[in-house]
Amino acid sequence: MKNSPFRFLMPVIAVAAAALCGMLVVALSGRDPVDISAKLYRATLGSGYGTGQVLFRTTSLIFTGLAVALPFRARLFNIGGEGQLQLAAFAAAVTGALLPASMPAFPAVVLTAFAAMTAGGLWGAAAGALKVRFGVNEVISTIMLNFIAQALAGYLLTYRFAMPSTEHTAEIVPHAMLPGMDDLAGLFAGSPANLTLPLAPAAAALAAFYLFRSRAGYELRALGSQPEAAAYAGIESSTHRILIMGVAGALAGLGALNLVSGYRHYYEAGLTGGLGFSGIAVALLAGAHPLWIVPAALFFGLLEYGGLAVGAYVPKDIFMIIQALAILMVIVLNARR
């Protein structure tokens, strides 16, 4: 039963069903679903630029999806991806701007990435520590930490780091900027897809290795699946919980790197645009499996950019309906088994 192919087909069924429902809504709004689908295809995967736009969003979604999926395996629900993403983006932008212009590209990029991962990681680990030390429910603490992150980044931006008469930080030094896929390989002409794009599936593969092949992942899955037995087997749950929340935050940090070093080159309010929250949906759709995160993130990336691209014909809200329906469908199908 539990290993039946249905388990792998389920997300596919859910996505297909949600897409059909979406088309139905399009039809009800008085548009031709076939025509809209064709337009959607042309605007996204039908062109190099469109594909790049989709993949750019997919990249951050893979990271924020992993940031939810990994703690999930230890029975921790990380709602804090958005806050971790925001702080990491801010840290990357400020660090990148403060670096000397003469610094060579490699250390500049690494330092920026380090700043992003540290900021996100500490924010995640904080929730883990609150859980382990004081028993604070991680859902509550990560939501609160989201608020704090948003307010903190907003305050620092407005009163400390905003460029005169603008609402964003200084641009990062050119050497800290990540080259676009266009410059690197001539792919996805002019789109914001950049060097972090190949990094994302690599991170997913690494996460899968960690979970299913490493001793640490073995312990993590054991304590997530049967905490009492794990304690009897001498597994230290506290360390694992704090660590995995830290790793989650650091992964969200890499998602921020995609936005800052790869594309916008500075921090401004609204830069993260809820990609941290969408990560929750991605992880749910993927059943918290690191490798399934990749197609799930692609699906959400497609809808997020697709919604923008055909916004002139149908309201973007329809795409939000499809996203939400896919998630509900997965949960319902899961509950039925």
Binding site: Y218, Q226, A229, A230, Y232, A233, G234
Partner: protein, 516 residues
């Protein structure tokens, strides 16, 4: 026999959960106005039976009659309507509400927006309290009450609903001795007022002190119903814990060596102040099996938890546990394992395995830190594969593919074989702690497990065996300690046990004297 009508009559009740038969062909008559006890070990099926009577479970087959009328309960609501009430082991009270509010809660016969007749209810509760000698202040908030008082509120709830048949599930488990006596007075006065009481328990003293008749359950079946005036603790204990299978394990004379485990004046008091263990002292030598006999709930769980460092740290520990010369009191499970201690916990599925993991992963569970299994950050898959294959063959674990089949898909016997194999194979093992090693295991597998335990002893490990199966203890143990109310009451020497093995029935009764 038919002078008084039965308040409750069950005929041929069966209930299965998955493949486990929790109740098998249970037939039982409870006389009106009597206190009827149902005794049995944990897992004997008495709680399931209580839930069936209370409408929480539906029986697969069989019939239930209340006061001669055949009934079919779809929910506890139906049972309540027939005058059946139940006091659960864990109370169902709202702490922030008063006694009166709690008693009234769930009275569905009032229109939704009508005023609650609080004064009348309060007066009614006062009257009931007086009538049955149940002392409790109707206006006190439940969170301010003691456990004993909370229980009285639960009983008042049933009386307020005019229940004629009261089911109490392990009512004294949470009570102090004084509160227990108080409860008995209440139950006696309820009986004198014509109420029928069904008492679910495993404490034989209480049964004999209080009940009129007692039904003994074992492994889902009723082994007998007797009148309390015509039975004894020993006879009941025998009915409860005996297992009439021939235990044909060959037990050659042991040759005990150095002392491996010394437990010295061990005591444990819970955070709530209940003394669970007091002055427990014993030693286990290399090459011997020290058995601990006792009816469940007499401190076995606490002793096992202390030995594995898994006790509730809020409680107070006194005395020492030594492994060889090293004091290991309160050490963590990982530290114990590293010192060469293996442990097979009593609750296998909860504490010994991860049911959702594969058989291979479970074979490694708790031993995954051993250097031989490591490679880089992961596992040496070849080494693990060979290790698992070796143990699966040697312990005859029936499983088609150890790398894909989840442990939860195996039978209880095969699950336990996985645990036994993993723990007995631990390199450099000096001490083996076994708790109920054959519980829920089919007879075929029991023999194999017993043989492995004796073999482990022959290899020079010290073994502590906690079991509620007297036959098993007598067959395997070198010496046997009798645990009763948290203290070791009597330790049978190797000679006594050896002599006892020739007449297991008589020896079992002798042990029964010391554990009840």
């Amino acid at each position: 026999m038919e002078v008084m009508q039965d308040a409750l009559r069950l005929s041929g009740v069966c209930k299965k959960f998955g493949t486990i038969e929790a109740n098998r062909n249970v037939s039982l008559g409870v006389r009106k106005g009597s206190i009827h006890a149902i005794v049995g070990e944990n897992g004997a099926g008495k709680s399931t039976l209580a839930r069936i009577i209370y409408g929480m479970h539906r029986p697969d087959s069989g019939t239930i009659a209340v006061h001669g009328k055949s009934v079919k309960f779809a929910s506890p609501g139906d049972a309540i309507a027939e005058g059946i009430g139940m006091v659960h082991q864990h109370f169902m009270l709202v702490p922030a509400m008063t006694v009166t509010e709690n008693v009234m809660l769930g009275l569905e016969n009032k229109p939704l927006f009508s005023a609650i007749p609080m004064k009348t209810a309060s007066a009614c509760i006062r009257r009931l309290s007086g009538q049955y000698g149940i002392a409790v202040d109707p206006d006190a908030r439940v969170e301010t009450l003691s456990v004993g008082e909370e229980q009285r509120v639960e009983i008042l709830k049933l009386l307020y609903r005019q229940a004629g048949i009261l089911i109490l599930d392990e009512p004294t488990a949470v009570l102090t001795p004084r509160e227990t006596l108080n409860l008995f007075d209440v139950l006696r006065s309820l009986k004198n007022e014509g109420k029928t009481i069904l008492l679910i328990t495993h404490k034989l003293d209480e049964v004999l002190a209080l009940a009129d008749r007692v039904t003994v359950m074992r492994q889902g079946e009723i082994t007998g119903t007797v009148s309390c005036s015509e039975t004894s603790k020993e006879a009941l204990a025998r009915m409860m814990v005996g297992r009439n299978v021939l235990l044909g394990v060959d037990n050659p004379p042991p040759s005990p060596g150095k002392i491996v485990l010394s437990v010295e004046h061990l005591g444990y008091r819970t955070a709530k102040g209940v003394q669970k263990l007091a002055e427990v002292s014993f030693k286990v030598r290399a090459g011997e099996i020290f058995g601990i006999a006792g009816v469940e709930g007499n401190g076995q769980s606490e002793l096992l938890a202390l030995l594995w460092g898994m006790h509730d740290r809020k409680g107070a520990v006194s005395g020492n546990i030594l492994l060889g010369e090293t004091d290991i009191t309160g050490r963590s499970p990982a530290a114990m394992a590293a010192l060469g201690v293996s442990h097979i916990p009593e609750d296998r599925l909860k504490h010994a395995v991860v049911p959702g993991f594969t058989v291979s992963e479970n074979m490694l569970f708790g031993r995954h830190r051993e250097p031989r299994f490591r490679r880089g950050a992961g596992f040496n898959r070849q080494e693990v594969g060979e290790y698992v294959k070796k143990l699966v063959t040697r312990y005859d674990v029936r499983c088609s593919d150890v790398d894909t089949i989840r442990l939860e898909a195996l039978s209880g016997g095969n699950q336990q074989k996985v645990v036994v194999a993993r723990e007995l194979d631990r390199p450099g093992m000096r001490l083996l702690i076994l708790a109920q090693p054959t519980r829920g295991v089919d007879i075929g597998a029991i023999e194999g497990i017993h043989r492995s335990i004796i073999e482990t002893r022959e290899h020079g490990a010290a073994i502590l065996l906690v079991s509620s199966e007297l036959d098993e203890l007598i067959a395997l143990s070198t010496r046997i300690g009798c645990l009763y109310k948290g203290s070791l009451r009597r330790i049978f020497t190797a000679e006594e046990v050896e002599a006892g093995r020739s007449d297991i029935l008589r020896f079992g009764q002798e042990i029964g004297l010391h554990i009840t």
